[in-house]
Subunit: 283 residues, 2 copies
Amino acid sequence: MESRELVYFVAVAQERNFSRAADRLGIAQPPLSRAIQRLERRLGVRLLERTSRQVSLTRAGEVLLNEGRKALTNLAAAERLTRRAGREPRLVVVTKPAGDAGLLEPILARFAAHPDTVEVEVLICGIGEQKSLLRDGTADVALLRTPQTDLSGLATEELLTERELVVLPRTHRLAGRASVRTVDLADEVFPRWSDESPGSGPVITDTGQVAELIMLGQITAVLPESVACRLGPDLIAVPVDDRRTTLLAAWSEERRDRALAAFVRTAAEVAAARSTADALTGA
Amino acid sequence: MESRELVYFVAVAQERNFSRAADRLGIAQPPLSRAIQRLERRLGVRLLERTSRQVSLTRAGEVLLNEGRKALTNLAAAERLTRRAGREPRLVVVTKPAGDAGLLEPILARFAAHPDTVEVEVLICGIGEQKSLLRDGTADVALLRTPQTDLSGLATEELLTERELVVLPRTHRLAGRASVRTVDLADEVFPRWSDESPGSGPVITDTGQVAELIMLGQITAVLPESVACRLGPDLIAVPVDDRRTTLLAAWSEERRDRALAAFVRTAAEVAAARSTADALTGA
DNA sequence: CGCACCTATACCCTGCCGGTATGGAGTCCC
DNA sequence: GGGACTCCATACCGGCAGGGTATAGGTGCG
């Protein structure tokens, strides 16, 4: 099976529409139809049920969509890793906006002095993209927060655990509380951090929206302490007693190189130092 | 990256020779050279160092060989699983000659009566091929023996543990012993069960060779009891006290379907019954 | 120095891949 | 119910990728 055919099939299977898929692929619709027909012929299996009104997946089509996506991810990873191996060694670290709890800068400073240091590129990606960037080889290490749904294939190191705070407008009924518990928040509207994530509120596409929407009373948000403190003076942040979040360093479990190991170790050291400092300050 | 290019590269990287690789791929050498050049150009990385006398891998080439093989295996698995999903559900069970300890027949009989039964195809493969057949989706479940070098990605269930016996010609110095230990066999010549396996003796390509070679005094072999007993009356089998082997059912850890689970469970039941019977007979 | 071996280049040809135009089936809506 | 719309399939055509043969060029060996 040619990988291009598989890319085509995945596009059609996702769009459930030949014309839109062709559009996305940057080719015309007829060649796409033929490519899928050829693929079906070669596999000896019907992948799609088409009527003139809708396209649906057969059992075999579902299998190929799932397995094929994995295979294509692997192929992309092989390509990226190969490209990287040909260049100067460097690390790509990926985080999301405000997702590093302020640790990244000291980590980079300390790592630069490490004997196994290499050049580091920092990538700030959209919400929920980090794991796929790790898996396809674009990034070497990510800063993630627990809880995470699917960490398969990734190795992790816990960096630090933070309180979580609910962020509210000044006028909110809970704004005067010294602390709250999760049950107190049962009636609140929380944003959905990505298209797929559960929740009742609006989908967040830009982090700047969050403070805005909270101020307007549209939503509330529960955020790690390091993030909540930076939203601005017009919002009240109240600790949620029974919630904690942990910042993780994560990387592909198969990767074994000195620079990566050194980076993770450095990150853990910086985080440990920070935790100790916080404990002293808090006390 | 097109999968065909990757197949070509892997062939060259393994053969370390364009002409032989082209031969194996069934194409001429010049198109192969061009394909590799194109791949290198597209990746922007040199993969192979060629002199007119030898081809060697660059760092990037090694990465692509390793990662690419994985990706191609996944691609093949996606293809096979898709093909299978389009047909009647069935299980492919793979074992090697005499590798089932006589369990397969009763397992199949019992499985046929199971509520979740499906058609079963039995594949008897060459030595050392089982794991790759599982990984590329050709087979659903394999009967393997411990010790095994690399079971990553596979789930296993222990079926039964057997004694191992050393098989000797009648005239052998140890032929009269009631039992031996591994240290007693230090001077013996053992066959190599595949091209890669360690050992001093000849490479076995056909199981029929083994009895033959033992009879001629060329080698000795340590085999599971169930196999050793069937080599014929002209050979003496002496128990090796300090060696045991376990028969495993193994399958891809990602697979989750009722028929597969039912098969493994049935296999375990049959094996348990056999073990009990043996214990009674032996006592 | 010639021979054997191996890869790269030159050149040709076939067939695949992609494009445009159009057909035909089903759905929506007035 | 008919026209318009949507959507996939078919027909046909052109360009180029990919494969073949012949051969050049470099290197180790006797």
